[in-house]
């Protein structure tokens, strides 16, 4: 099957110049990273951007009518993420509910879902609802950062599209022997350029995986921290990208120089 051949050739090409492949990844990551960040910031309205010592809000826990409520409360209270329980007034709907106050720093937003899941899994729990004490102005700031990220995402996408165009041109020049041989032998352009396409797809897939990893780290450790740290990672990526471009050019001219033509 030609598809395996294309992938095999693409991997060989990558192994021939692994450094360039890794550096290319960073370039592809930039726009995905920014647009991904803006998406998550917009979606995760709860994420707070400044480090504060305040705690998150509470859960409203609804219990099955037949459950041992005392035992259940003890189980909930034993969770280290819960600082205390409060009984809430029955609204007359017949539901048995109580409030569990959270003992989670604002830095650990991701623990909310985890704790919610742990309470839900307890026997006798019917429903758990998070009642966060969200801070409105923080949300507004989130939107502003989401906007900045989206803008950076668009700008870097334009840059990457331009970069891909020049990279394809260089890739064609570096593989001119193969292209020439195949053209003269009667290969269709699809066959000739499929190897480059496979290489691009591999780079794309790897970039997406890496970006997801970056985003995960960012969401956990950076965006919920100080503003300064928020900008460190994108700036580092930009520096890496600029360095990559420089190195790619150096590599290209070195390869051209070394070419052996018969």
């Amino acid at each position: 099957m030609n598809i395996f051949y294309f992938i095999y050739e693409a991997i060989l090409g990558i192994l021939k110049r692994p450094l360039i492949f890794i550096l290319n990844l960073f370039i592809f990551i930039i726009p995905i990273y920014f647009t991904g960040t803006s998406f998550f910031l917009y979606r995760e309205g709860r994420v707070i951007l400044s480090r504060e010592k305040e705690k998150w809000g509470n859960f409203l826990v609804e219990v099955d009518s037949g459950a041992d409520i005392r035992f259940l409360k003890e189980q909930v209270k034993s969770l280290k993420e819960i600082k205390g329980l409060k009984d809430t007034a029955d609204t007359g709907s017949g539901k048995i509910v109580f409030q569990a106050d959270l003992n989670i720093d604002l830095n650990d937003a991701l623990k909310i879902e985890e704790t919610k899941r742990m309470i839900t899994d307890l026997k006798g729990v019917k429903f758990v609802k998070y009642q966060g004490e969200e801070i409105e102005y923080m949300e507004n700031r989130n939107l502003l950062f989401a906007g900045i990220c989206l803008f950076l995402g668009i700008i870097s996408s334009i840059f990457v599209v331009k970069y891909i165009r020049s990279a394809l041109k260089k890739e064609s020049e570096l593989n001119k022997e193969r292209i020439n041989i195949l053209e003269l032998a009667g290969a269709t352009p699809f066959f000739i350029y499929s190897i480059f396409m496979a290489k691009g797809l591999l780079a794309g897939a790897a970039s997406i995986l890496l970006t997801l990893l970056f985003l995960r780290i960012s969401l956990e450790n950076i965006f919920i921290s100080s503003h300064l740290q928020f900008f460190i990672y994108p700036s580092t990526l930009f520096i890496v990208a600029a360095g990559s471009l420089f190195l790619i050019n150096i590599d290209y001219y070195m390869t051209i120089k070394k070419e052996i033509k018969i």
């Binding site: 193969r178 041989i181 195949l182 009667g186 052996i260």
Partner: protein, 220 residues
């Protein structure tokens, strides 16, 4: 099999390179195209394999008018040809097998068929024992033979060989001619260009090209 009618090729930079070329090559015929440097041989070959278009005239090859051939049909047209360019390329970091196998890939042959065919053509050119060697390690003469092997691996109907004997000593030239004799099948047409004043090939029609024009056609 090949019919050229008043073919001209003119470049803006270098002027007229081919002037009123009319030539006919029958099925199974082997023609030697002799001419000095810049006589227009390479340009004629480029026109024949559709790398360039003539400024005027008609070219009928394998029943197709290649002056009016659509780009998407050009690929399939080239599959009938065995093209040996003057400045042929190799994948220098690959072994001989990969160099030839590359052009068999898009025909959809099984790996067994491809292997057998690669071995067969390498045997014809005398490189079968070096099948696993990286092509960069070959001598210039061996590289030339490898390019020939690659060009004929698809059993072409026509071989277009642009100066395959250029820069070789007499014994090497003789070996190249012998390879072509072994490759030649009764139906195959060969257009073989050479810069040599005295070509060692005998009993063939020889066309002399000079200043872009056919000066003389004779049997040698």
């Amino acid at each position: 099999m090949i019919r050229l009618y008043h073919v001209c090729k003119k470049y803006d930079s270098s002027g007229v390179v081919l002037n009123d070329i009319s030539l006919s090559i029958k099925q199974g015929e082997w023609i030697v195209l002799r001419g000095r440097e810049k006589a227009g041989k390479t340009t004629l070959f480029k026109l024949l394999y559709g790398m360039e278009e003539p400024s005027s005239g008609e070219m009928i090859v394998c029943g197709q008018n290649i002056c009016r051939i659509k780009k998407e049909k050009l690929y399939f047209y080239r599959r009938q040809l065995g093209i040996i360019p003057q400045d042929g390329y190799l994948l220098n970091d690959r072994d001989l097998y990969s160099n030839i196998d590359l052009v068999l890939r898009f025909y959809g042959f099984s790996s067994k068929v491809r292997k057998a065919r690669v071995y067969e053509v390498l045997s014809i050119v005398g490189l079968e024992k070096k099948i696993d060697i990286i092509s960069a390690k070959l001598s210039d003469f061996e590289k030339r033979k490898l390019i020939i092997a690659r060009a004929v691996v698809n059993n072409p109907r026509i071989i277009l060989a642009d100066s395959p004997d250029a820069g070789l000593n007499l014994s090497e030239q003789e070996e190249i001619y012998q390879i072509f004799k072994r490759l030649k099948t009764p139906d195959m047409a060969i257009l073989f260009s050479t810069k040599e004043e005295k070509c060692l090939l005998q009993g063939l029609r020889e066309v002399e090209l000079a200043d872009g024009m056919i000066r003389e056609t004779k049997f040698v």
